[in-house]
Symmetry: C2
């Protein structure tokens, strides 16, 4: 899903966030172009379009986006950095161990059957599949 500049503005306002130039630029990357970026990735990309943006602003913005439900912070074993996922629909992940790329796996691609004690109420299932392409 790609959002126009105007749609990003609208999303930010809906979330009670002022659509500042910094935020619009960050969102252009995080919500549209990036694939599971870290803060470092975001900063590097945004630096080009918005020289002088501060690292604190990137952190502030991803936190605000997280609170607004526009992105989700995730953390995997293979990296010590938080990455941000703009896909807010339920889905899983595939890590290509050769390239380090993280791809989305649609729920339809995964059938799970849990056999848990009756008193367990499941709120969320997260799955990371690691592998290679032959």
């Amino acid at each position: 899903m790609t959002l126009s500049s105007e749609e990003i503005r609208t999303e930010l306002k809906r979330a009670g966030m002022r659509p500042t130039a910094q935020r619009l630029t960050i969102c252009q990357y995080v919500l549209n172009q990036a694939n599971h970026p870290s803060v470092e990735d975001i900063k590097a990309w945004v630096d080009d379009k918005f020289p002088g943006i501060s690292l604190a602003t990137v952190y502030n913005t991803v936190h605000a986006l997280e609170t607004a439900g526009l992105v989700q912070a995730i953390r995997f074993d293979h990296s010590d950095k938080v990455i941000y996922d703009s896909n807010t629909e339920p889905h899983f992940h595939f890590l290509d161990e050769d390239s380090g790329t993280l791809l989305d796996i649609q729920p339809e691609q995964v059938q799970i059957n849990l056999n848990l004690p009756e008193d367990v109420l499941v709120n969320d299932i997260s799955i990371l599949i690691r592998g290679k392409r032959q």
Copy 2:
């Protein structure tokens, strides 16, 4: 699985690690008693039995255990700390969101069917189920 002091010695030697007093104490906790401890947890427990042990030694030891394949480092969204898992058999995890406890889920309790492109070779699947007990 609980290992005797002697068995821990043997395991360490087999891994090419000298069974020092510090390592034996750390293993007693990490391999036997602890449940997915963080380095902080380990340090706190070991401090009692081995006053003056250095934090660096705890880090050194868990890294050596990891290299030896005796533990696995894991990282979850809900914490920024690495935790160590002494269960080296394939298994999954359940996070009790009320207590913060992390429990093992046996592979038998989970049936998965993946529908992935043919050229994908799966090496590992990690699953975290979050929920509550009613």
